[in-house]
C-alpha cells in the first residue's frame, strides 16, 4: 500500500514538472501591485496606468532620470533662447506665451496612420471639454489657442507665462482617426473611448510596445510595435502581472512566475530590505529615493501646535537619521523641507533640526510646558502636553515609524496618542476637512520643481465655506510665502528663481507647517541578467525608457 502511495506521488510530481518554470528571455514578466482602472491616457490619474502606458505611448515632453525636461514625441525642446517659445500678450492683455513644437517625422500610430497636428487639435478639443472627464484641467484652461503650421508643426498659446512654459508632459495625444466617433457625445466619451471598448486596437498606441491583451485584474500583455521609430526593444513580449498581495508578489518572483518587481508599484522598503537579506544574492536590488515626501501635517489651529517653539521641539526630539537607518537601512534620506535634495532648486543652508533632545526640552520649557507630572509635561494651567497622531491604518511602514516617533516624544514628556483610520476615511474626510486634531502623517507625490501652491498658499486652506477646496491642510498662512509662490511661478530666470526657492525653503524649515520625515525610496528587484533599467524617482516611470532594457 505504501509503495503504491509513493508511486502515485512520484507520478503526480513528474506530471506536474512538465510545467515550464520560467518564460524565455524574449519575454519579460513584470510584477506590480495595482491594476489600471482605465487605459485612456487622459482619464483618471493612476500610477499603474502610467507604468503600463509608458511602454505603449510617449508624451511630448517629460523629465528624464536626471530630472531634466526632455523631448520624447517632439524633435526639439522649445525655449525662449532657441526662439521656439515667444512671450506674448493674450487677447485680453495678460502675459502669455506661444510655444512651437514639431512632431517627430517618423512618428506613427500602431496601425500605420501618421501622428499629425490633427491629433493635437483633437486632443485639445477633448481635453478642454468640461464633460469629457479629462484631467488635469489646469493645462487645458491655460491653453487657449492652437495654430497649426503643417502636419507636424503647431504652436500652443498659453494665457500664463510660467517657468514651466515648455513642459507639456500631461498633453497625451489621442488618435483622431479612431477616437473622433467616440467623442461625438462628449459626456459619454469616457465610457465609449476605444481605450475602454477596444483596448487592444494597435492604432491607439505608438510606443515600443502595443497592448495586445488585457485580462482585468490579472495581467496586461504588450507586444513589440513593428512601427516603433526608436531603438528596437530587446523583448518581444512584456507581461505586466498584477499581484496585490506583496507576500505573494515575493513568492511569485522566487518561483520564477515573474522576472522582476517594479520599483514604482512593488514592495515597500522594509519588505525589500528583508527580501534582500534572504535572497539578495540572486537579484539586483537597488533603491531610488524619489519625490514621495513623507511628512506629518500639523494642524496649526491646534492651540498647542500654534506655538512655533513646540513644533520645532517636536522635530528636535526625533532622531530621524536613526529611524531611517534602523527601519529603512538608510535608504530613505531624511527630509529637511518639502524639496527633495535631488531637485536642482534644493538648498542646504536653511534651518536644520538634528536630533537634540536637550534643545527640544529647553524650547518646551520656554513655551511653558515645564511641569512634569507622571512623565508628561504640563503647562501652568495644568494642561498636559498631549497630542494625537493619525495615519493610514494598515500601512506597515507608517505604523512602524509612528511607534518610534511616539516613543521618542514620550522620552521628552510629550504624550502622543495614535488614532489611525483606513485610507479612504483618512484622506476622504479627516485630512480633506482638516479634522485631524493635531498631526496627520502621509505623503505628497509631486514633480521636479513643483510649486507648492495648493499645499502652502493661504488661498488653498480647505474650509466649510469653500466646500473644503484646496490642500493646505495645515492651515498655513504666511503672506511672504504666498508672494514667493506667485513670483516663482512666473520667474523665467533660473538664478532669480533659485533665490526665491531658497527663501521659500528657509521659511518652511523655520515655520514648520509640517514635520519633514523622509523621501520615500522605491525598491527595484531585478533579475541579474536584466540591464539598462534606470529608475527616475519622480512620477514619470522607468518604463518610458523600456527600449533600453537589455537581456545581459
Amino acid at each position: 500500500m505504501r509503495k503504491v502511495a509513493v508511486l502515485v506521488l512520484f507520478l503526480m510530481f513528474t506530471a506536474l514538472s512538465v510545467v515550464p518554470a520560467r518564460a524565455g528571455k524574449d519575454e519579460l514578466v513584470i510584477g506590480i501591485t495595482q491594476f489600471p482602472s482605465t487605459f485612456n491616457p487622459n482619464i483618471d490619474s493612476m500610477l499603474a496606468k502610467s507604468y503600463v502606458l509608458a511602454m505603449a505611448r510617449r508624451p511630448f515632453t517629460t523629465y528624464d532620470p536626471d530630472w531634466q525636461l526632455m523631448c520624447m514625441l517632439c524633435t526639439e525642446l522649445p525655449t525662449i533662447e532657441n526662439g521656439l517659445a515667444v512671450p506674448e500678450k493674450t487677447p485680453d492683455g495678460k502675459d502669455g506665451i506661444a510655444v512651437t513644437y514639431t512632431i517627430r517625422p517618423d512618428a506613427t500610430w500602431g496601425d500605420g496612420t501618421p501622428i499629425t497636428t490633427r491629433d493635437v487639435t483633437f486632443t485639445w478639443e477633448v481635453g478642454k471639454h468640461p464633460k469629457s472627464g479629462v484631467i488635469p484641467k489646469e493645462f487645458y484652461r491655460s491653453l487657449y489657442k492652437i495654430d497649426v503650421k503643417d502636419d507636424k508643426t503647431f504652436t500652443l498659446h498659453f494665457d500664463k507665462l510660467t517657468f514651466e512654459y515648455n513642459a507639456i508632459n500631461s498633453f497625451e495625444l489621442l488618435p483622431v482617426h479612431l477616437e473622433e466617433a467616440a467623442f461625438a457625445d462628449p459626456e459619454a466619451y469616457r465610457n465609449r473611448s476605444l481605450y475602454e471598448t477596444d483596448t487592444t486596437n494597435p492604432g491607439l498606441y505608438f510606443g515600443p510596445y502595443i497592448i495586445s491583451e488585457v485580462v482585468p485584474g490579472s495581467h496586461v500583455t504588450l507586444t513589440a510595435n513593428p512601427l516603433w521609430w526608436g531603438e528596437t526593444p530587446a523583448f518581444k513580449r512584456v507581461v505586466v502581472r498584477v499581484i496585490e498581495n506583496t507576500a505573494a508578489l515575493e513568492a511569485n518572483l522566487l518561483s520564477g512566475a515573474i522576472d522582476m518587481i517594479a520599483g514604482e508599484l512593488g514592495l515597500t522598503i522594509d519588505q525589500a530590505l528583508t527580501f534582500e537579506q534572504r535572497h539578495g544574492d540572486r537579484y539586483t536590488i537597488f533603491y531610488k529615493p524619489g519625490l514621495a515626501y513623507e511628512h506629518i501635517d500639523i494642524n496649526l489651529d491646534n492651540p498647542i501646535l500654534r506655538d512655533q517653539r513646540v513644533r520645532q521641539a517636536l522635530v528636535l526630539a526625533l532622531d530621524r537619521e536613526a529611524i531611517s537607518e534602523k527601519l529603512f537601512g538608510g535608504r530613505q534620506p531624511v527630509a529637511n523641507t518639502n524639496v527633495n535634495p535631488l531637485d536642482w532648486v534644493y538648498v542646504d543652508d536653511g534651518p536644520r533640526y538634528p536630533y537634540d533632545p536637550e534643545k527640544a526640552a529647553a524650547l518646551l520649557d520656554e513655551a511653558g510646558w515645564n511641569s512634569m507630572k507622571r512623565g508628561i509635561r504640563h503647562n501652568a494651567a495644568g494642561v498636559p502636553l498631549r497630542l494625537e497622531i493619525m495615519t493610514t491604518a494598515g500601512n506597515r511602514s507608517r505604523e512602524l515609524v509612528q511607534q518610534v516617533l511616539q516613543s521618542q516624544w514620550k522620552q521628552l514628556g510629550i504624550d502622543v496618542r495614535v488614532r489611525n483610520q483606513p485610507a479612504r476615511v483618512f484622506f476622504g474626510e479627516t485630512v480633506r476637512k482638516r479634522q485631524f486634531p493635531a498631526m496627520a502623517m502621509f505623503a505628497w507625490i509631486s514633480a521636479p520643481e513643483s510649486v507648492p501652491r495648493t499645499t502652502l498658499h493661504s488661498d488653498h486652506i480647505p474650509t466649510a465655506e469653500n466646500n473644503w477646496a484646496g490642500q493646505n491642510n495645515t492651515g498655513f498662512r504666511n503672506a511672504e510665502v504666498d508672494e514667493l509662490i506667485e513670483q516663482i511661478e512666473v520667474e523665467l530666470d533660473r538664478d532669480k528663481r533659485a533665490e526665491l526657492w531658497r527663501r521659500l525653503q528657509h521659511i518652511y524649515a523655520a515655520e514648520l507647517p509640517a514635520i519633514p520625515l523622509y523621501f520615500r525610496a522605491n525598491p527595484y528587484i531585478l533579475p541579474k541578467w536584466l540591464k539598462g533599467v534606470t529608475p527616475t524617482g519622480h512620477q514619470y516611470p522607468s518604463t518610458l525608457w523600456i527600449e533600453t532594457w537589455r537581456d545581459g
Binding site: V215, E244, A257
Partner: protein, 321 residues
Amino acid sequence: MSRYLAERLLQSILVLAIMSFVIYGLMWLMPGDPIDLMISADPKMTSEDAAQLRELYGLDRPFLERYFNWLGAALSGDLGYSRLRAAPVLNVLGPALANTVVLMSCAFVLAVLIALVAGIVAALRPYSKLDYAINLLAFAGISTPPFWLALLLIIVFAVMFGVLPAGGTGVTGGQGFWDSAQYLVLPVASLTIASVGGYTRYVRAAMIETLRQDYIRTAWAKGLSAYDVVVGHGLRNAMIPVVTIMALDFGFLFSGALITETIFAYPGMGKLIFDSIMGNDFNLALVALLFATLVTLIGNLLADLAYVALDRRISFREMER
C-alpha cells in the same frame, strides 16, 4: 408546489428591493469619494477640477435622487458603467463571475466529496483512532488562516518544487486544458482545505445522530448490506442539516473568496466586490452584491426543495404553513 414557488419568488423580489436600498445607503454613508482619493494623490488638482469631476460622475447629487435614478435605469435593463473598470457592469461581472464559478465550484465539489467520505468513516467508528485522526485534520483545516495556507502552498509548490504556477490565470498562447487548469490547483486546494473540515464535522455529527436511530437498528436487523444501511438510510436522513449548511454556502460560490483571490492574483468576484466597494463604484458593487444575494436566495430555495426530496415527511403544503 407552484403556489409555494410563487410565494418564494415574491419574497425574493422584496428582499432584493430592500437589499438594493440598504447596500446603496451603506455605500453612500461611507466617508469620502473617488475624487477625494484622486486629490490626495495629486496636489496639483484644483478645487474646480474636483467639483467638475463630482458633477460628471453624479457624486454631487442627493442620495435618494441617485438611488432612484439607478433603480429606474436598472429596471429598464441598464445596469450602468463601472467607474473603476470603465466598462458596462455586465461586461465586468461576466469574466469575474466565470472565474469564480470555476474556482469555487471545484473547491466546493471537492470539499463536499472529501467531507462525505471522511465524515461517514469517522461516524462509523466514533472515538476510534481513525475518528480522532479525521477530527484532528478537520480542526487543523478549520483553524488554519487562509492567507497563511495560501502562502504556504505557493512556497512549497511554486517556489521550492517549482511544479505549479504561483498565481494568476495564465497568459495568451496557452496550450490546452492543463495550461489553464494548473493555475487552479493551488487556489482550489487552499479553499478546499479551508472548508472541508467544517463540512466533515457536520457530516460526522449528523451521521452519528442518525446511526443511533431505531430505524437504522431495524435496517441492520433486517440484514441489509452495510452500503444500504449507511448510505441508503443513514446518509439520506443525515443530509438534511448538512444540506442547510451547504445551501448557506451556495452564495459564496458566486461571491468569491477575497483572501484566496488576492493572494493567488485570481481575478474573481471576491476581489471585484471588495475593490468596487472601496473605490465607490456604486453600479458595480450594487449589481455584484445583489447578484450574491439572489444566489443565496436561490440556494435556500434549492435547500428547501432538497428537504422534500430527502425526507418524505416534509411536504410543500407543510412549508407553506
